[in-house]
């Protein structure tokens, strides 16, 4: 089981993690492939310069090419690191009590939202397109009560399995919640009584 204190910023007593989900690896792979393709640009520029015949490693063209390529690769590496960080910090957590959505939107924007499992109303799985069908990933939309906002688990692997796990956890939470309510009531008050005026005051 995952270390709860490391992964949740405010763990509750008796809470444990059921699912700890990142985006599907193919999303990160596609991003890495994009940067690998871009990494060939300075190589192509070098061959164009050499074919023109006026490239000199010791001269101005050499200096500009080296410094330009160096900056290009540094920023490429920075953006790739950003993608890795984004993938690593975007996480959806399902515990036995709540769902938590953590998204690193950009460098200065981070979204953390959570909802009790009993507040969930309906869950929708959206997996459309060629690659999502092939690699079995998609979005899970969770409609919660009392709010227009929906929880969206984006581009996660095997969304149907996730939905089953969440609905199962929600059902268990409801049963536990009802049992706790029953146990909290004193024995003589376990039977519902008609509400009196004094109780309302």
């Amino acid at each position: 089981m995952a270390n709860l204190a490391d992964r949740l910023h405010n763990p509750r007593p008796g809470e444990y993690i059921i699912l700890y989900i990142h985006r599907h690896w193919i999303i990160l792979f596609a991003s890495i492939m994009k940067y690998i393709a871009l990494a060939w640009v300075p190589v192509l520029v070098y061959f164009v310069l050499v074919m023109q015949g006026n490239f000199d490693w010791q001269g101005l063209s050499g200096l500009l090419f080296i410094l330009g390529s160096s900056l290009f690769y540094l920023y490429l590496w920075l953006f790739l690191f950003n993608s890795l960080l984004d993938h690593y910090l975007d996480v959806w957590i399902v515990t036995n009590e709540r769902i938590i959505n953590v998204e690193q939107i950009n460098l200065f924007s981070r979204l953390i939202s959570e909802k009790q499992l009993d507040k969930m109303q309906d869950i929708t799985v959206i997996s459309k397109g060629f690659w999502p069908t092939i690699f079995n990933y998609g979005d899970v939309h969770i409609q919660t009560a009392g709010s227009v906002e929906r929880f969206i688990f984006r581009q996660i692997h095997n969304p149907r399995r996730i939905v089953h796990a969440i609905t199962d956890a929600a059902e268990r939470y409801r049963i536990k919640f009802e049992l706790d309510l029953d146990n909290d009531q004193p024995p003589e008050q376990s039977q519902p009584k008609p509400m009196s005026i004094s109780q309302n005051e």
Binding site: W57, L63, I66, L71, Y73, R110
Partner: protein, 84 residues
């Protein structure tokens, strides 16, 4: 009018400075939200190694270039493209 080669080194330094600041912000995020996790350590280590490697390679490639040279932009009111 002429520009010394060190000017381009200055432009590179400004670009690198911005890269460095954004990198520090990224590392700050990594430490703040994923402190102690193995994945964050691997990310940070690989980031440092590749960045240092790129800078070392750049320094190695420009070490033989005489930076005291100058680029003559205009001479007799004409731009000399042959210098490129």
């Amino acid at each position: 009018m002429s520009i010394q080669f060190t000017f381009f080194l200055g432009v590179y330094f400004v670009g690198f400075l911005f890269f460095f600041i954004v990198s520090l912000l990224n590392i700050y995020h990594l430490f703040k939200y994923a402190k102690g996790a193995l994945g964050s350590k691997i990310l940070l280590f690989s980031y440092s190694i590749v960045t240092i490697g790129l800078l070392a390679l750049t320094a190695f490639l420009i070490k033989d270039i005489d930076l005291r040279q100058s680029l003559i932009l205009f001479e007799n009111n004409s731009f000399d493209f042959s210098q490129f």
